[in-house]
């Protein structure tokens, strides 16, 4: 399969003003993230709020150009110094979390779906109309609804509209930022099925940002666990769910409630909350909350390294994963 998206050491910095005459402080919301994604595959990015998931989404979709690192789209390097050109932007599209906030209430579905074509192509109005009708039926909406406004649709239907809008320019990569977390249970399954179907039909590559591990386990090919702007573990889905190796991944998996009664799993208790990005801790950013922390962890930030088919950013990964420790996450499978 062909590679459509590659990120190499992607970084994103924001400045935080301390006061009028003081030097601004820089916060690195994204701190060296690398991955590669093929057509038809799904990379899931999981982590808690503030870990840089959404910053990654904004960098990949070029809403903000990354402040350092390389981004390759379908074999072409995106120039991070200049404004990337429109043709490249068209190849990556995004679906947002809240379908109530992401659709313009004053535009009809026709206008909304037509807009990308109007701005980027020279299609005639008839061709545009046909393209809109085609896309609507593809995402499971009746084409007769094209003249309706967003408030006339339910949450699930709105998310279908948002997905249709992202697909109008035939992108190769779709970044999905928590696409189902605002939806009800019964509708969630419908939208997940639609995403799977579209991926199979159109060969789309998905970057699926989520905090819901049961959804991730269902649809992801690869999983990247992020903490404090870095990837702490990156592996294919089967490996990471059967043998999570980073202590944070383990804690995250064990904290997720499972809808089975009587499954009393051993839960890893995480103390406290993620550190403030303005005052990053010494060494491993997970150190202050980690149960296995030692002096060696405080020396430097651990880099990702190859370990048993996964990439893990923990200096003590081997010591922690000795067989005598109970494997808490096996039950998740």
């Amino acid at each position: 399969m062909s590679e459509v998206l590659r990120a190499v050491n992607l970084q994103q910095e924001y400045s935080a003003r301390q006061g009028m005459f003081q030097k601004p402080l820089y916060v690195r919301a994204l701190n060296g993230v690398s991955f590669s994604l093929n057509a038809g595959e799904t990379l899931a990015v999981v982590g808690e709020s503030g870990c840089g998931k959404s910053t990654l989404a904004r960098s990949l979709t070029l809403i903000e150009t990354p402040s350092a690192g390389e981004l390759w789209l379908a074999g072409e390097k995106v120039n991070t110094a200049n404004k990337p050109d429109a043709a490249l932007r068209q190849r990556v599209q995004m679906v947002f979390q809240n379908p109530y906030g992401s659709l313009n209430p004053r535009k009809t579905i026709q206008q909304m779906l037509e807009e990308p074509l109007l701005l980027n192509t020279k299609l005639s109005s008839e061709a545009r109309r046909a393209a809109v009708a085609d896309m609507m039926s593809r995402v499971g909406l009746r084409p007769e609804f094209a003249e309706r406004y967003p408030h006339m649709f339910s949450g699930g239907q709105r998310q279908r509209i948002a997905i249709a809008r992202a697909l109008m320019l035939k992108p190769q990569v779709v970044v999905l930022d928590e696409p189902v977390s605002a939806l009800d249970l019964s509708v969630r399954a419908q939208i997940l099925n639609l995403l799977t179907e579209l991926q199979q039909d159109l060969g789309l590559a998905y970057v699926f940002i989520s905090h819901d591990l049961s959804v991730v386990q269902r649809i992801a090919d690869y999983v990247m666990v992020m903490y404090f702007g870095r990837a702490v573990e990156y592996a294919d889905a089967a490996t990471i769910f059967s043998t999570p190796q980073h202590p944070y991944t383990k804690a995250l998996f064990s904290a997720t409630p499972v809808a089975e009664v009587g499954e009393k799993r051993e839960r890893i208790h995480l103390q406290g909350e993620p550190p403030s990005p303005l005052r990053p801790p010494q060494g491993c950013p997970f150190g202050p909350r980690c149960a296995y922390v030692q002096d060696s962890c405080r020396k430097e930030v651990p880099a990702l390294r190859e370990l048993k088919g996964a990439q893990v950013a923990c200096v003590r990964a081997e010591a922690i994963n000795e067989p005598q420790l109970p494997n808490i996450s096996a039950r998740l499978l």
Binding site: E48, S49, S154, G155, G156, D184, L185, S186, V187, R188, A189, Q190, L192, N193, T196, E197, Q200, H211, L213, S214, V215, Q217, R218, A251, L252, A255, T256, P257, V258, A259, E260, V261, G262, E263, R267, H269, L270, E273, L332
Partner: protein, 325 residues
């Protein structure tokens, strides 16, 4: 005598197109030390039913109820002023968004102190002692410093802990938690749920947990009420609900969960959407989406029938040997 008993509670709101039935026929019994979960999708009337119990609904709401008792006291016969005193005292509530339920203009300590002052009284010194004690119980580090903190200076998890401290201020007998962890991250969610369970056990409170997360229900609740479109469709002990759901809606909801669905590319789904005000079916409210529906289901609404610990609203229940009705 149960702590809270509700019989046939219904709530309707006036709209331009007539009355909208938000809650219809809720029956609940909660004893001290019980954990009851109310599960349902958005718009199923979970929160509205609890707001009705706490008398927090706007005066336009039409509330009808056969029985509404807390510790044997009839709330329906009670004047509003007296009911007001029960709120925060005997019954306390925790809301979904900790950030927006705290007043940004006052310190956390002041807001917890206010609840103690109104319900328990006491000198300023005694009250401050109690606030610090409460902050410690809910696991807020450095209570003396946090006493003077404003809500914006605290994270979501810390704010929710402060809300719990406030709810516990007057030793409530019944705690209603309305989606207490929905706005929080999973690792923080685990901390907060554990805290709620620990407090519920040590204080012997009754706990009503409103949620839409089946995982949270499976791990915390003892009894589960399932609501659909304002109606209570099923009530069962948690083990039975997850292993032998009787209502087709419960069964379909559990099947649609990614972690329970059979392997394969596609998940089982429930077709269609929840009926709104105008397209309410004449028969069973779930019948248009139900794969087991028969002619009777489309014509006649099933009644809520009780069978010892179980309540069920269905003509053709699943997973049962003897017919329930």
């Amino acid at each position: 005598m149960s702590l809270l008993s509700v019989r046939n509670l219904s709530v309707a709101f006036p709209t331009q197109h007539g009355w909208f039935q938000a809650v219809e026929g809720i029956h609940l019994d909660v004893n001290a030390g019980d954990i009851l979960a109310i599960v349902g999708e958005s718009g199923s009337g979970k929160s509205v039913a609890m707001m009705a119990v706490m008398n927090l609904l706007p005066p336009t709401a039409r509330i009808t109820c056969d029985e509404l008792k807390i510790e044997g006291q009839d709330l329906l016969a009670m004047p509003a002023k007296q009911r007001r005193k029960l709120n925060g005292g005997t019954i306390a509530m925790i809301f979904q968004e900790p950030m927006s339920s705290l007043n940004p203009c006052f310190t956390v300590g002041y807001q917890i102190d206010e609840a103690i002052r109104i319900h328990l009284g006491g000198s300023k010194k005694e009250r401050t002692e109690r606030v610090l004690h409460l902050l410690e119980i809910v696991g807020i580090p450095d209570p003396r410093r946090r006493y003077k903190a404003y809500p914006h200076q605290m994270s979501g998890g810390m704010s929710q802990r402060a809300m719990i401290a406030m709810a516990l201020a007057a030793n409530p007998k019944l705690l209603i938690a309305d989606e207490p962890t929905t706005a929080l991250d999973v690792t923080v969610q685990a901390q907060i749920l554990e805290l709620l369970l620990k407090l519920q056990q040590t204080q012997g409170m009754g706990l009503i947990l409103i949620t839409h997360d089946m995982g949270v229900v499976a791990e915390t609740a003892q009894q589960v009420v399932v609501q659909y479109a304002g109606q209570q469709v099923e009530k069962q002990p948690v083990f039975g609900l997850f292993n032998q759901p009787h209502h087709p809606y419960t069964a379909a909801l559990l099947d649609a969960l990614p972690e329970r669905a059979p392997a394969g590319d596609f998940l089982p789904t429930i077709q269609g959407i929840v009926p709104g005000q105008k397209d309410r079916p004449t028969g069973c409210l779930f019948s248009p989406r139900c794969t087991h529906a028969q002619a009777l289901c489309h014509e006649q609404q099933p009644a809520l029938v009780r069978n010892s610990e179980q309540w069920l609203r269905c003509h053709y229940p699943l997973n049962t040997v003897e017919v329930l009705r």
